[in-house]
Symmetry: C2
Subunit: 138 residues, 2 copies
């Protein structure tokens, strides 16, 4: 595991006790730049010899989301995906192959104000379509 001390600090800063399982998961999410599902995370960690229980994967990811370390990406109805919270970015999802692409965006350009909104905590943007690779295959 890389940056053990740094990961520990990151957890402590959010008042999360740095157990081995939590450090493994946080490390995984930091090094993985896709948008993995629980199943993928569970399988990858198991393949690396870290057999956490699936319940722990669920519990920990939920905790991280609550504490603001990750966010859930609801691309479709099937499985939740998890995303490290970097700078604001939008997602493009290929309806054909399922690939996900990120692109930084500046929400402020929209000048979007919801009169009913008291406070805004999160902003998500999704484009859906067909990626160039799939389009060229047809």
């Amino acid at each position: 595991m890389q940056n053990y001390a740094q990961l520990t600090e990151e957890l402590k800063a959010r008042s999360i006790k740095p157990s081995l399982q939590r450090l493994l998961l946080l490390n995984y999410m930091h090094t993985c730049h896709t948008h993995p599902t629980v199943e993928q995370i569970y399988a990858d960690l198991a393949a690396q010899g870290h057999a956490l229980s699936k319940a722990t994967v669920y519990n920990t990811l939920t905790l991280f989301v609550q504490k603001g370390l990750l966010r859930v990406v609801n691309l479709d109805r099937s499985e939740a995906r998890y995303d490290v919270l970097a700078c604001d970015h939008g997602h493009f999802v290929c309806e054909c192959c399922g690939a996900i692409y990120d692109e930084p965006i500046d929400f402020d350009k929209l000048n979007l104000i919801f009169p009913e909104a008291g406070s805004v905590n999160q902003r998500d943007l999704f484009y859906r379509g067909v990626c160039k690779r799939c389009l060229s295959k047809e």
Copy 2:
């Protein structure tokens, strides 16, 4: 049911055979300006004396989405919500009471281009936070 002929035309225009169940559902979605779940739709129609089977509600909504009459809104992991396709609008979701508010938006202002995107078919935007009503209650 209102505008029987008009609803029939709307279905035929998308080459959907206008069965009674489909007309009922389309009519419901046109008159309902919330973002209902399958359960809500099913219960409301039953209360109006139209007891479609739940399978038909699922099948028909899926068909309407495929044919471009509705879109699915994946606010969270629990239940899918359905939305009539009007002009582009964003959603604000209150994390406290679950209320959903719409606001028209112009995506073009973002100047957002995904280099990997061949074609874009749908654009969704979600803000999450606490609505004014909930904020004032705290």
